[in-house]
């Protein structure tokens, strides 16, 4: 903002939170009256969209082995506190290594509520054999957040084949809060 002189009065390029602005209050059905508001109040009207926090949880190593009928195995978790309220965008994904012809499915939960899952991922074939590595679909989930509230985010895995087993690795949870 350019510095200028108006009727001998200096304008200031830098605004402090306590500076007062004269304002005509027309919110009441009465003749206009002057009031003053602080710069902080004025600035609060300016939308400054931003990302308040990003949390990235990644574990490259292998999870425990899991088989069918096991309860969903938590393979990655994160707790994120909303900084100012807004929207969480959560990405979750993992890869896995199987034994035999196993199949894996991953699920995403927020505060213990299941919110998203992937398709069942068939594991390999005869030519690939045991110990082959497979990637997985990425899950996305978005939700409104409340300032100061803590959210528990969990990535879980289940095994859907009758006989074999699998281990998850490269497990990721990536959460950002958007304010707009």
């Amino acid at each position: 903002m350019a510095h200028k002189e108006v009727d001998g009065l200096s304008t200031i390029p830098a605004l402090s939170g306590g500076d007062l602005f004269p304002v005509y209050d027309v919110s009441e059905a009465v003749p206009e009256r002057l009031k003053k508001i602080t710069a902080d109040s004025l600035i609060s009207y300016v939308p400054i969209p931003t990302i308040t926090i990003c949390s990235y949880q990644q574990t490259l190593g292998y999870s425990a082995s899991f088989i069918q009928f096991d309860p969903p195995l938590v393979i990655e978790s994160d707790t994120v506190v909303s900084q100012s309220g807004g929207v969480f965008r959560i990405f979750a994904f993992s890869e896995f290594e199987g034994v035999g012809s196993g199949e894996v499915r991953f699920q995403l939960a927020v505060d213990s509520v299941d919110v998203r899952w992937t398709n069942v991922q068939p594991y390999g074939n005869a030519s690939q054999g045991n110990a082959s590595l497979f990637g997985e679909g990425t899950m996305i989930y978005m939700m409104n957040t409340i300032q100061g509230v803590s959210y528990d985010i969990e990535l879980t895995a289940t095994f859907t084949d009758i006989t074999w087993s699998a281990q998850a690795f490269n497990r990721n949870l990536f959460t950002c809060e958007y304010v707009y």
């Binding site: 508001i37 969209p49 499915r105 899952w117 398709n119």
Partner: protein, 184 residues
């Protein structure tokens, strides 16, 4: 924020968009004059960050859409109508999960203003060990487009059952369209 009194003027902690501001108008002929602007006009003078998120629209329906079969063709399972705030880029994330009978398979499509812009893989419902009524995730569709200020965009997520047997059906649920406008 504390309310305080200065001279004969009253301060208020909350600003209304109808509030008027005195500003010196020096844009015309060099002669200064005082004019009033409202809060919204004043805000437009503030410089925003060069890159930011202008708007996020979450459109999600957790409940089931209803049973669809191959004979239904493509059906719209979620719609989101979003207005661009000031132009930029829409990032659209869309997807759905589904529950099947038999070995039904499903494919997702994304339309913008009735034009198809993205399609997912055919997602096979593997019921070897799960059987009927098993929920399955499906592909997440991502698409980005340039936007024009104040233009309305109609975004639709469609599903189609593609299996050979017309007797097997799918029932989409957790249908979502997330739209984020980035300005840069």
């Amino acid at each position: 924020m504390a309310d305080k009194q200065t001279n004969e003027l009253v301060t208020i902690p909350i600003l209304s968009t109808n509030d008027l501001f005195n500003i010196f108008d020096i844009t015309e002929g060099g002669s200064e004059k005082i004019k009033k602007v409202d809060a919204i006009d004043l805000i437009s003078y503030f410089q925003l960050p060069a890159n930011y998120i202008r708007k996020v629209t979450i459109q999600e329906t957790v409940s089931s859409y209803g049973v669809i079969s191959r004979l239904d063709g493509k059906v719209v399972i979620q719609t989101s109508v979003v207005t661009s705030q000031e132009g930029g880029i829409f990032r659209i994330d869309a997807g759905s999960e589904f529950e099947v009978t038999g070995t039904a398979e499903m494919q997702l499509f994304l339309n913008i203003n009735a034009a198809q812009v993205r399609m997912g893989d055919v997602v096979l419902a593997d019921n070897q060990s799960y059987g009927n009524s098993t929920p399955y995730g499906a592909d997440m569709l991502l698409y980005m487009i340039n936007t024009t200020p104040s233009t309305i965009y109609t975004i639709q997520l469609l599903a189609e059952v593609t299996n050979a047997s017309i007797g097997w059906t799918a029932n989409p649920f957790r249908r979502f369209i997330y739209t984020t406008e980035y300005v840069y």
